[in-house]
Amino acid sequence: MRRFLSGKGLVGAAIVLIMLLIALLAPLFIPDTFATQMDMRARLSGPTLNHIFGTDQLGRDLFYRVVLGAQTSVMIAGAAVLMSIVIGLPLGIISGYFGGVIDNVLMRLVDTLLSFPALLLALTISAVLGPNLTNTIIAIGIAFTPFLARIIRGEALRVAQMPYVEAARAAGTTDLQMIIRHILPNIMPAIIVQGTISLAFAILAEAGLSFLGLGTQPPDASWGLMIQASRDYLDIAPWTALVPGAAVAITVLGLNMFGDVLRDVLDPRTDP
């Protein structure tokens, strides 16, 4: 625990906590209209006292948009990654631990999904289900599942061949107990690392969907939508990209630091 609250872990935890608070609390205190109100006299204005992060092409305040957009981005990414873990974990463990025919069937299924680019898959799902928040989460969640399943299968396969698993089998451990006691704790580090990386990609995937008109619908704000919108003004108003870009970068950095330390804390070998 002492390790966790020092240096990298503290910074990472602080960033993740702040982002979560912003995502949860900002909508309660700041009216939605702040993010959509247009100030036509101050379009594409740089940071000023009125608009501390500047404004976008429609004169909307970037500070409020990034703060209010946090909820959409963080929620969609978090829920989508959680969903891909919830589906991918059993798939991967069953494949890797039991092997044989089950493994072959499940992995060919996963390979089929993998053969589509993740964004295209999400796009198709989103287009079929219709554009709204829940469907965006489902689309990204399903698109990310094969990656998680593949990695978890590999890890489960590796752990299943460890002598301690064989020792436990010789000691009469049933398959379910084996998975809970021996396989899961030992593949946790891989899940944490892959999960935090996936969160970053999920934020960007949401941006891609929004750009194509299938994710967050304008005039609502999300980080991804903001980055996409800034594309045409990069040369004259670079802050329109930098503000949401920094929000994504800081969140991802915080998550990675948090994930690294979480992994170390869970590993008894690194405890002093």
Binding site: E166, A167, A171, G172, T174, P185, N186, R269
Partner: protein, 607 residues
């Protein structure tokens, strides 16, 4: 005589705030001399050799003090101060190195020729035909059969022993003044070890180079050393000629190290197994009382295990590896039967087949009148209460994420034998039984040493009060003093609880000490089985004889010469599906002493 290398007051640390790995080491190596640096794990012997090559820095070490003077053609140089370019010139040219693992110290994607000529090109500027001829000459020097063909081959096409010969040839390519060999035979079978040791001895005699030989094995020291440097926790505790070290050790640590080494042949004429001598314990070991009327516990009949080999684009079943071939034996209650043999002989597969950790192809295994192979999934789980296993690698056989108490408790919980405070009491009792302090219960595996972990593995195996324990190379990974303690614990448990051990090992000296019966395996078959005394004092099968002959003896007066040894490589156990193996037929030499018939003619190991 000026020494080739003179190490003075060497001190090496790894990171701040840690103890120095090498504290204050001084010794010299003369031309034409083999200096054995011997010690247990953590003694700093490998760190010393890596410092000499200045490779220790790549592993995070720092040479903080001391001098390492190497004699070169243009005068002495202090290796501790030499810069990167100078060291690159010296490595592979003036100092050659052989590593422990022949499987990984060759690059799998280059031919043998390419790897042999690398050093020649860099240090001697040799290319083309000249380099090829030198490479051929080197392969002949290390006595590799068909050297011309080998040049074009890749490492995976060569056996382990041949690969280690290639590694030696590479180290010898530029005629080094000093050859550093870091545990070069530890990963090899005993017959190959004997050949490699004899080879290094001959090369040293012929070229006059100095050899620094690092090992933990006193028997190997006796076979190869001129002078011995004994290291303990980063310090040199004793140094002297090999005969003196063995005949008259001065330091207590050296005495203890020598005492703990079991010597092949020392059990001659003794009726029952005896505990190992312990470090600092001079009292004569008391033998285990032999049983009058032993009853059979484990009966294995015609056990056969094949592993399918898949090949072709459709991954069809194209051949079988005949891991265990028609094996029959009986293990009595309260006794130890050892399965010995070289890697790939099927001894581990045999042990795992009995527990059905791998599925045998045919045969029968009866434990306490119950048929293991006929049991269904549920019954098998219950039958496993009777028989437990201890694995070789104490680092991999414990789950790093589970507390030790939970790991020892697992079998008890699996079978619902105890719960709550009763479970805790049982686990505490097991910790007492294997002589580990109870406060270790809350610890994790990484906090324990190898020997302590193996005690945990024994406690876990004992938890369900089994009748049979299969110990697969259970002490091979341990230092010799720790090995003696763990073996004694096992023998004590046998005497107290009436356990039967199936002891799988390649170490003939350990086997001689602890076994009631011995079975020698070769190519999946038992070639000879009988009471310990019969196997060790009156071996009949030629393979048993050659195996005994290869075992290094911890006595510098009993060295083996290259000419004494001429082993044929073990043939492949892989056969096409149509192959029908012959039945194992045995001749009875004496009561209970059986020798395999017939196979002698086709696979004679020592003609």
């Amino acid at each position: 005589m000026t020494p080739i290398v003179n190490i003075e007051k060497l001190r090496v640390t790894f990171g701040k705030g840690t103890d120095a790995a090498v504290k204050d080491v001084s010794f010299a190596i003369n031309p034409g001399e083999t200096v054995c640096v011997v010690g247990e794990s953590g003694s700093g012997k490998s760190v010393t050799s890596l410092s000499l090559m200045r490779l220790v820095e790549f592993g995070g070490g720092t040479i903080v003090d001391g001098r390492m003077t190497l004699q070169r053609d243009d005068g002495p140089i202090d290796l501790a101060q030499a810069d990167g370019d100078t060291m690159r010139d010296i490595r592979g040219d003036e100092i050659g190195m052989i590593f422990q693992e022949p499987m990984t110290s060759l690059n799998p994607v280059f031919t043998i020729e390419r790897q042999l000529t690398d050093g020649l090109r860099v240090h001697r500027g040799m290319t083309g035909q000249a380099a090829r001829e030198r490479a051929l000459e080197l392969l002949r020097d290390v006595r590799i059969p068909e050297p011309e063909r080998r040049l074009k081959q890749y490492p995976h096409e060569l056996s382990g022993g041949m690969r280690q010969r290639v590694v030696i040839a590479i180290a010898m390519a530029c005629e080094p003044r000093l050859l550093i060999a870091d545990e070069p035979t530890t990963a090899l079978d005993v017959t190959i070890q004997a050949e490699i040791l004899a080879l290094i001895n001959r090369l040293k005699r012929e070229t006059g180079m100095a050899v620094m030989f690092i090992t933990h094995d006193m028997a190997v020291v006796a076979q190869i050393a001129d002078r011995v440097v004994v290291m303990y926790r980063g310090d040199v505790v004793e140094e002297g000629p090999v005969a003196d070290i063995f005949a008259n050790p001065k330091a207590d640590y050296t005495k203890a190290l020598l005492a703990a080494v079991p010597r092949l042949g020392e059990m001659r004429g003794k009726a029952a197994p005896e505990p190992m001598r312990l470090v600092g314990d001079t009292s004569a070991p008391k033998p285990l009382t032999p049983q009058d009327h032993p009853e059979p516990l484990l009966e294995v009949k015609n056990l056969t295990t094949y592993f399918p080999v898949k090949g072709g684009p459709l991954r069809r079943h194209v051949a079988n590896v005949h891991a265990v071939e028609d094996v029959t034996f009986t293990l009595n209650k309260g006794e130890t039967l050892s399965l010995v043999g070289e890697s790939g002989c099927g001894k581990s597969s045999c042990g795992r087949s009995i527990l059905r950790l791998v599925e045998p192809t045919s045969g029968s295994v009866i434990v306490d009148r119950k048929d293991i192979l006929a049991a269904n999934h549920r019954d098998l789980r219950l039958l496993r209460r009777q028989m437990q296993m201890i694995f070789q690698d104490p680092f991999a056989s414990l789950n790093p994420y589970m507390r030790l108490s939970a790991q020892v408790a697992e079998p008890l919980r699996n079978f619902g034998l105890a719960s709550g405070s009763a479970l805790q009491d049982r686990v505490a009792g097991l910790f007492d039984r294997v002589e580990l302090p109870r406060d270790y219960m809350r610890r994790f595996p990484h906090e324990l040493s190898g020997g302590q972990r193996q005690r945990i593995a024994i406690a876990r195996a004992l938890a369900v009060s089994p009748k049979l324990i299969i110990a697969d190379e259970a002490v091979s990974a341990l230092d010799v003093s720790v090995q003696a303690q763990v073996l004694n614990l096992m023998m004590e448990l046998q005497a107290d609880l009436g356990l039967s051990f199936l002891f799988i090992s390649h170490d003939m000296a350990v086997v001689e000490r602890i076994s009631h019966h011995v079975a020698v395996m070769y190519l999946g078959r038992i070639v000879e089985i009988g009471p310990r005394a019969a196997i060790f004092e009156n071996p009949q099968h030629s393979y048993t004889k050659s195996l005994m002959q290869a075992v290094p003896i911890a006595d510098p007066a009993k060295r083996k010469l290259e000419g004494d040894l001429n082993f044929r490589p073990i043939p492949s156990p892989m056969h096409p599906l149509s192959y029908a193996p012959a039945q194992s037929l045995y001749d009875t030499v004496a009561a209970g002493h059986l020798v395999l018939r017939d196979i002698e003619r086709t696979t004679d190991a020592n003609p």
